[in-house]
């Protein structure tokens, strides 16, 4: 009897606590990907089937679970353009046009496979509920469902490394489980300040056969901002934060 109790207790201790709480696991993945409030630089590269590339450089800032803004600093044709997301509201500012216009999460201000919600990604826990978690060898597989209809993808499947609690692959799906795109997280890098995360995210899509888009991360660091930074009126001034 004692043996049985010891075996059961040992098994309980050995089981990861996150297997019981998918939300806590997703929260930890969110925090491992980024601090809650931070700044970073990203290079976005669109690759066409013939190998032709087009590159954009962005400076991004984020605060809390639902405030994020990105400023294009290159190439010259895009410089000064910025995007802002406040929860489900998204705007795009073009210096010539002047006033920020409302955009949608499925739209893409840069063309290619990444859309606006990929570029202005909130915490996954802000937009998704965890339906179930499975263990696949050295990885967890999280099945996520969007909290509202306004989220860009109805469903996500996240493969996360058990040890690092960081995603290795994410499939973005429709309500009917049709694959829209796949994100591949690569090249783990120490950015300092305790931030260790994939420095490269690649994506491809059955809807864009042969095309690929890549995000390269740099200078990811914790930083706090006033709420007023994440407003329409401030959009033309994002450059002053750099």
């Amino acid at each position: 009897m004692l043996k049985t109790i010891i075996v059961v207790l040992s098994l309980l201790v050995a089981l990861p606590v996150y297997a019981l709480d998918g939300t806590a696991l997703l929260k930890q993945i969110d925090r491992n990907l980024n601090p809650e409030s931070f700044e970073m630089y990203r290079k976005l590269i669109n690759v066409e089937p013939d190998g032709k590339k087009k590159e954009y450089t962005l400076f991004s800032v984020k605060k809390g679970v639902d405030k994020v803004a990105a400023l294009f600093i290159a190439p010259a044709s895009e410089k000064g353009r910025s995007t802002l997301r406040l929860g489900e509201n998204m705007w795009f500012y073009i210096p010539n046009v002047g006033k920020p216009i409302r955009i949608t999460s499925l739209q893409s201000v840069v063309g290619g496979v990444f859309n606006n919600s990929d570029i202005l990604q909130l915490d996954y826990t802000a937009e998704y509920d965890v339906e179930k978690v499975e263990e696949k060898g050295g990885e967890y597989l999280l099945f996520l469902k969007a909290k509202t209809k306004t989220v860009a993808y109805d469903r996500l499947k996240i493969w996360a490394d058990k040890g690092k609690l960081l995603p290795t692959k994410i499939e973005c799906l429709t309500e009917a489980n049709m694959l829209i795109k796949t994100l591949y997280f690569k090249d783990h890098k120490d950015f300092g300040g305790g931030i260790v995360r994939p420095a490269v995210v690649e994506t491809d899509s059955p809807l864009f056969k042969g095309y690929k888009s890549v995000l390269i991360y740099a200078k990811v660091k914790q930083r706090t901002f006033k709420d007023e930074v994440f407003t329409l009126t401030f959009m033309p001034n994002l450059e002053s934060l750099r």
């Binding site: 630089y41 590339k53 190439p75 009126t233």
Partner: protein, 429 residues
């Protein structure tokens, strides 16, 4: 003409720069790209040949070419050079943007016009407060093609609503406050706009200091602006606009302006000019919709309360035809004038529809579009198909044709052209 050759040479040489960069290695991110310099210099070059198909019977053809008849078509070379620079130190910054328009045609020869579009200094003591003084554009309003509530801006050309515009000399500030709850953001933008000799003298009545302002609210996920202007250079006016996403891919917006004692000069049936003054209301209602296949539809209805009615436009066109006949028989040109009837959207009620399909057939950076602008009172319209390609870094290639359709005595039927074909090559640096 030599200026155009230099402009074309610079643009052709620049075409090879992105190609050279593209041949380099995979997925490199040179961190020097992220270093910020206190100064910035950039600009935009444009070359735009245009072919006009002239309508010899139209009122505006007669107005412009009454003493120098043209053939069936008229070609024109246009160039544009925009230079911008900025300097930033601590909470202070300076920004300058110049614009030079170049034009060459067999009819008018060559011309050049340069102006500062913007030149202002900024003081940003905190993210909540910014103070600016100098020449700048404000670009208020939510409409895509028209902005009746943009009281301190020059009117947009609905045919090219995304073009940069020249500003006015003003002092302005932004105060921003964020909140938790249904009201997420409030901001106030006061504007002092002086009109004196050589300062904004095209804006309105001289020797006046005008005061305008905008209150912005993000309330229940809806952008709401309240605007006003008073001071005497133009009649007092009050406005509001809003924009909201109904779903992730469906946006609605609107604008309203109430203009007290709006003045305009109209021609009666006999061709006599009368000054008319009355309160006017202008408004706009629009939607923007995106389908899963990336087809963006923009539809806007615009009522221009200060515009000319169908009858007023008809009287004007009749008057031009009478004056043209007098000129042909007597040589007297004094009766030939524009009187504001030739400005953008001179009529009362308009419909704007723009369909743009992003990247059809998996052709990246390619966007064909079709734009309709219709005067709803006389049913005349312009229809503009266009092809846009932005696949070369910093380059923008656009081919478009505009067809102006309408009977006699209608707004678009009396424009000087029946059609226009243009190719625009733009280069950013």
């Amino acid at each position: 003409m030599r200026t155009f050759i230099y402009l074309a040479m610079i643009m052709v040489l620049s075409l090879f720069l992105p190609a050279m960069g593209a041949a380099e290695g995979d997925y490199t991110f040179n961190l020097s790209e992220t270093e910020k310099k206190p100064y910035h210099f950039g600009g935009y070059l444009e070359f735009k040949p245009v072919l006009f198909g002239l309508d010899h019977d139209s009122a505006f053809y007669k107005l412009r070419y009454f003493n120098d008849p043209q053939g069936q078509t008229l070609s024109e070379l246009n160039g544009r050079v925009q230079l911008e620079g900025s300097y930033e130190r601590d909470i202070y910054s300076l920004y300058v943007k110049t614009n030079t328009d170049l034009k060459y045609s067999d009819y008018g020869g060559s011309s050049e016009h340069s102006v500062f579009y913007e030149a202002y200094g900024s003081l940003k003591p905190s993210p909540s407060l910014k103070v600016e003084a100098g020449k700048k554009t404000m670009k208020w309003g939510k409409g895509y093609a028209w902005n009746p509530a943009a009281f301190v801006d020059r009117p947009k050309d609905p045919d090219e609503p995304e073009l940069a515009l020249e500003g006015f000399i003003m002092a302005t500030a932004d105060y921003i406050k964020s909140f938790d709850g249904p009201l997420k953001t409030f901001s106030f933008t006061p504007v002092l706009l002086p009109v004196y000799d050589h300062i904004n003298d095209a804006f309105g009545n001289n020797n006046k200091l005008n005061f305008a302002g905008r209150f912005y609210f993000l309330l229940y996920d809806t952008d709401i602006d309240l605007t006003f202007m008073t001071g005497g250079s133009r009649s007092d006016r009050y406005g509001m606009d809003f924009s909201r996403n109904i779903t992730t891919n469906f946006e609605i917006h609107g604008e309203y302006a109430y203009i007290r004692n709006a003045r305009k000069t109209v021609l009666d049936e006999s061709g006599n000019m009368n000054a008319v003054e009355s309160d006017a209301q202008s408004y706009l209602a629009g939607i923007r919709h995106l389908t899963a296949s990336d087809l963006t539809t923009i539809v806007e209805y615009y009522h221009n309360g200060t515009g000319f009615s169908d009858d007023e436009l008809k009287n004007y066109f009749a008057s031009v035809n009478r004056a043209y006949n007098i000129y042909q028989s007597t040589g007297n040109v004094t009766a030939l004038m524009d009187g504001g009837y030739g400005r953008f959207s001179a009529g009362r009620d308009y419909l704007y529809v723009r369909l743009s399909q992003k990247e059809p057939f998996d052709i990246l950076y390619f966007t064909p579009a079709l734009t309709l602008i219709m005067n709803l009172d006389d049913q005349s319209y312009s229809l503009t198909p266009e092809l846009l390609y932005t696949g070369f870094t910093n380059w923008e290639l656009r081919f478009r044709t505009a067809f102006l359709v309408g009977g006699r005595s209608t707004e678009f039927g009396e424009k000087q052209n029946d059609y226009r074909v243009e190719f625009r090559v733009g280069y950013y640096f």
